[in-house]
Amino acid sequence: MGPRKTGLGLSGLLLAGTIAMGLTAPPVLAQQPAEVKVGLLVPMSGIYARPGQVMRMGAEMAVDHINAQGGIKALGGAKLKLVAIDSGDSTEKAKNAAQRMVAEEKDMVAASAAYLSSFTLAVTEVTERVNLPVLTLSYSDLITERGFKYVFQTSATAASQAEQSLPEIVKLAEKASGKRPKSVAIITDNTAASVSSVKPMKERLLKELGIELVVDETFTPPLADATPLVQRVRSARPDLLFFLPTVISDAKLVLEKMNEFGLGQGRVPTISFGIAIAEPDLLKTMSPALLDGVMTVVANWGSKGHEALMAELKSRYNEPWMTQNAISTYGDMWIIKEALEKAGKADREAVAQTLRAMDMTGGPTAYFPGGRMQFDGKGRRVGAGLTIVQWQKGTPVTVYPSELALSEPFWPKK
């Protein structure tokens, strides 16, 4: 890439449209230390706009907090400047947006991207080639299996989440109901995230736990009718249902149909993986009573110790609770801040190096389950934990792990 430019600011943005870069010297406006640009490349239009907007809220809150607390001290109190870019709703648009970001923001030091794992895969193909470190909450294993050096995955990967959570779910069921679950039904959509969660279960984990897979159904979102799926669950009567939707309307259809068939409200305990089933939007179309007791395994969630953040998110953006999208993106900004402090210069290569070398238990660690901030050679967070969230009285609250739990889990009584 071309020479790095700093301090372009607004005039730099204006210049960006022209091809003749570098002809005019941008005026230096003030004596303050230069701003440090961090990127947020997430969907802000199209069908994934909603999660992208929540991620932006988290990022904005973090940048405000960091700047209010004196900015980057190692850089003379330099302020962070958030550059939010819309990744659109397709892989091609995400890739284009990434290319635009790296072409026009040559002084950006790090970024957080891009919600959907397909988008993250495409975006990091671009950022890797210009050595821009990218933090992501996407949990597809593929993202960190390509030998990339500039991708940092804060979430436990899908395979790891399945591996960690299944024994906990079995323990929970055994403790609450007094008997060990022996059979499970899986209803999953065929999106990349769901498929990669289910794959290790079917291949290995269920067998190891002595659980029989009695129903195995995969559907393409959006569902038109959940009746045949739920009928199969009814006739098999499993001890557990693993239900993995990505689209909120699918979650609604299946849960309502479960209730209609007399399987809802805990008669067949329902466990999900991922965020869709705990999104605030679900309450717009469903009665909270139908959701009560439903659990989901998520890489991160607003938990114990985040009370002030959750309150601010509610008062500032009217978000009823803090999903993974908000808390992880909030944490990403703090990780970048920490890396800048350690690097001592606003340089992407230096930031990447400090991220690779990072090993801490304080600071941004508080915003991610697992108690540690360290990345392995692949860029996966070492010891990345997860949270189990349960709908209780109209709110999904963290119930596992116990040090983050805001409430005790309850096991629905048959």
């Binding site: 890439m1 071309g2 091809i19 870069m21 802000m44 239009s45 199209g46 706009a49 907007q53 939010a84 870019i85 819309d86 659109g88 397709s90 892989t91 091609e92 648009k93 890739k95 284009n96 947006a97 290319q99 635009r100 790296v102 072409a103 026009e104 794992s117 397909s118 895969l121 495409a122 193909e125 890797e128 080639r129 597809s140 593929l142 390509r146 030998g147 990339f148 065929n190 999106t191 990349a192 498929v195 794959k199 995969t218 393409t220």
Partner: protein, 591 residues
Amino acid sequence: MTMPVLRSLAPVLAIAAVFGLVATLLDNSYHQLMLTLVLVWACLGLSWNLLSGYTGLVSFGHAAFFGLGAYGTVLAHVHLGLTPWIGIPLSGVLGAAAGLLVGLPTFRLRGHYFALAMLAYPLALLYVFEWLGLQEVSVPMEREAPAAYMQFRDGRVYAWLALGLLIVIIAVTRWVERTRFGMALLAIKQNEAAAEAAGIDTLAWKLRAITLSGAIAGAVGGFYAVILLVVTPAAVFGMLVSAQALTVAMFGGVGTVWGPIIGATILIPVSETLHAELGGMLPGIQGVVYGIAIVAVILVAPEGIYWKLRDRFGRRAKADAAARTAAAPPVPVDGTVQRLPVRRPPPDTAVVLEVRGVSKSFGGLRAVRDVGFEVRRGEILGIIGPNGAGKTTLFNLLNGFLTPDAGRVLVHGADMAGRKPHVLCRAGIGRTFQVMRPFARMTVAENVVIGAYVRAATDGEARRLAADAIARVGLSDVADRVAGGLTTKQLRLMELARALAGKPEILLLDETLAGLGHADVGDVIEVVRRLADEAMTIVIIEHTMQAMVRLVDRFVVLDHGAVLTEGTPDSITRNERVIEAYLGKKWTAHA
């Protein structure tokens, strides 16, 4: 390569120079990517255009070939370590195979049904690839020898590669446009039945078109995978891919090599700029603006920007041409139009066409019943009869559009009943149509040459045959004029020339005299008679008897699907049963 082909490459070279220069000057990697995408979508638009633009069979399913190509290239790289330099041509082969496979069943459908059926293929493939667990396939990053795997740090290289691909595709398209391939496709677009009748094996040409189009789409898809680096079913089989191919072609201009290039050059940057500038501020607004812009342009230029501009800037030239025509003397048919010499019946020549006991029923309606007659070389046979007598059905039985339930149609003694129209055309039966469907944007010579391909081994020979046929009907003066500006008589004669260009022995004329003024009828009759004098065997069907009396040697009169009588014009006009059939019983007494 002949000179005209070289000259036709000049605009291609100009485009290559412009895009190449732009690619070289861009130093912003994002702009380089945009330029590459413009070229990629122009390529896919050209692939779509090759099938849908020229044949008129709208495909909503080009994502099928594109996606197979993309997955082919990326999977070959991931699993076999095969470089895209080889993978992309292989994707072309894959796309070609898919095109052939899709074409075989789908060409049984026409119009909207074809379009809807095509829609199904990418949708089905999308689910198949999801089911296969190929939700996300990432192109492996080659750190050792990136260039060997088509991976470059400099985005301009991709733009140059895309430009190279575009030039190859333009060259292919131009070649198709200029040969009988393109002519056959255009003929199919205008009137598939007429194309069949002109000796064009329409299914074979359509299959060739979809195979070539699929090959291009497959190769472009393979290249797209290299650009995008992550292949997902939605990204390559999605509805938007097929729509993109269709939109750039429709927007820029259908049925021309320049349309998709214009469309992509405008639409891709506009859409991307809107997304970049507005997406962050008012999410989703870019889609609205983009949609409105497309609707507005389609309203103003329904055929696409290229044709709109061409019509606007070509209008002056066309007006001049029209003025010249008005001044030009009428088609020179010698002055004896109205007082034709009485035709002497041809000598006792060999029987060329023999119809024996032909019948055809539609449900309970027996449209043609046990019809039989003979036609000798050089004879003009008129088939007449009142409305509903079965003339058109009989005609279609002779030319292969219908298969008789019973009976034989012998051409030189060989039974040709039920053969396809293009086979009959090869066997020496030419025909014209009652409803004229000239290719309005093409010249008279180009219109006529379509009929010549059936007899010509080379395009040059076809042009000579066409010129000869045009001379025989007396249209040489207007051979280079666009068919859209011709008079009805000239169009009839052009139709006749198209049938003649295939050097038929037998000419079937379908109401050739209909809709002509009195003087014009005389001119056309003169031409037809001259053909018969040159030993052409002619069968003409007409509704009215008046003009026919001056034209034919012998009549076959049909009524209620059966032969009422046959004989010379003199005897027919006096035949009471004929008068009764035409006018009703009470007139018989007065006649």
